[in-house]
Subunit: 397 residues, 2 copies
Amino acid sequence: MKSSKPLEGLKVLDMTRVLAGPYATMILSDLGAEVLKVEMPGTGDDSRHFGPFKNGRSLYFLSINRGKHSMTLNLKTDEGKDILRKLVARYDMVVENFRPGVMEKLGLGYEELKKINPGLIYAAASGYGHSGPESKKPAYDILAQAEGGLMGITGWPGEAPVRVGCSIGDITAGLFASIGILAALHQRNATGLGQKIDVAMLDCQVAILENALARYQATGENPEPLGNRHPTITPFQAYQAKDDWFVVAMGNDNLWKTFCTATERPDLAEDPRFATNPARTENLEALNALMDPLMAERTVQEWSELFSEVGIPHARINKVEQIMKSPQVIARNMLASVEDSLAGTVQVAGNPVKMSGFEDSTERPPLPELGEHTRDVLTGLGYSQEAIQALQDQGVI
Amino acid sequence: MKSSKPLEGLKVLDMTRVLAGPYATMILSDLGAEVLKVEMPGTGDDSRHFGPFKNGRSLYFLSINRGKHSMTLNLKTDEGKDILRKLVARYDMVVENFRPGVMEKLGLGYEELKKINPGLIYAAASGYGHSGPESKKPAYDILAQAEGGLMGITGWPGEAPVRVGCSIGDITAGLFASIGILAALHQRNATGLGQKIDVAMLDCQVAILENALARYQATGENPEPLGNRHPTITPFQAYQAKDDWFVVAMGNDNLWKTFCTATERPDLAEDPRFATNPARTENLEALNALMDPLMAERTVQEWSELFSEVGIPHARINKVEQIMKSPQVIARNMLASVEDSLAGTVQVAGNPVKMSGFEDSTERPPLPELGEHTRDVLTGLGYSQEAIQALQDQGVI
């Protein structure tokens, strides 16, 4: 019984750019909301100009903005502000990721906008948040990863720090902002009132540190990066096979015995240094002196076949090419296609929130050209063709 | 005008353990939902037995389960299943992170439970999802990070792969599951009907790959790990100061000029190899041959003062100890305390979703002992003290 997407009928005014904000509105869009991007005339969202490009189209921009609508609006003009206020009266949500204070300076802060629409849900994603002594510092993903602690526990001990390979600072801010928006929506269904949601990249990094805070408090020592291994389970890490790296994860002593039997290494099974998980963790170096050459004897494919047969958890360390061919990824509809007027067919990540209430499509509506929907939106607000032309001549749209 | 938390009045039946599921129900709890953990008599959530410990208390478990209620229930017994069905009739949501098929084998799959409560929102978090050829493979965070591609783009090119220092596979599954639950809640407010949400760690990893899919499609080459630098902006990376590593991020040519002036290095400013951002990225190696010794001349504190003065974005690579003292982290209420009967006062991560509708508290209710609320819950279902005693004698609770 597939019916409709859960957020159908909701209208989002999307004043975001680059990543954290657009990621949040992409999630809302994938769940059925109608999203209107409000962009600066001429330039639009900065990320329209970010590589990688294909036939002049930013695939960066396309990946997270497909299916949204776009209108241009210069918010520094009085007419632009007027139009925005008219839209706010008709929309359910505003999402923005300006530096804190920018919307207030424009006269468009939450306190102003809620006077126009008390039901408005207003979500702000920023680097350091809308309060605190460092609120207005410039923010980039790498700064949040560094200050928030994730960089300090990622990489190899004693070596150069490593940044997580995706902009996890921006993305987690987008995810928590979405959660705040939807929680506020539930409350609004009861009260009729909206509220402001203020999500900081820095806060989100602290929120995902997992047991690092606990480890510090238990031991008084700062958690250090661990490369690719598990702190207390062994072997549970990446090894280099004959042809490539891969991961094995033996979560208990039975799996270790299975491994020793399957690899025909009774010497490992009988070695008291490796008899229990705590012993293996304690003697990690000695263990890996034996594991490394053993793992190098066969290819990832050969190990994969053996380990699948005997039930030892393992995984390839996939490159993007392999992910795009993965039967499981494809079966889960995690690759969706966008037909783009310039770039042709582009694959983007699917929606990981699979809900029984609606059919999970592998097609996404196309990317909006900058300002593609400006005229429609203004006509909907009651502007005449002449008035729209005048706004264009004045650089308002 | 602070009123109530957005999810107050909602009741969550929490059949989760370890991380992805408990992380989702922690978010729901922080936003006001009442969460009842259903745990196996005797052992409970596996992570009650995971380190780090303080006075015998698992701080791992405490960090993400504070404030929930706990009842014991052996779901392999008929009486246990009966009690669960009675609870399902009275609860808004079930969240579970068993391996796909486990709930069905118990006779407690979504299709069964929705017959009891058509409004039930049922969220399942798993490694590979409830569909597809690899659905039932065992899953750990490190396997999702490896197969989902994040590990393949994190670390240093040509070196051993790096696992992100927190369990980002589990955590993103918890975040997307929360989003699905809240979206379903909005729809239920209109239709009265619940639905099943199926979130896979693997899918979530693909969803956070950011521009990696785009880069592959634009160039035909697999994105490689980049250590700690930005792919196309330079300098935008970690450098080693006299005493420690830190991050600088010069997003444009003006900042580069500011940097050269502030560090009194006209030679860098005038070098045509470094005149524009594309040139600096192209000549990264030559640039860093000059940047590395320059950055090593002063301490992080000295650089921080200079860069703050002239407006160059930069950040310390904080250890946990520094995060726990950070004025911004503290001002944002991102450290909350739990008073625990065994471990004393423990700091846990606060809620990063700041909402104007309710006061953001820095206190969290205590951790439930295993089965602390069993009697209350059963009494609420109408069980007599004798009946409860009998259930206990039979090992049902």
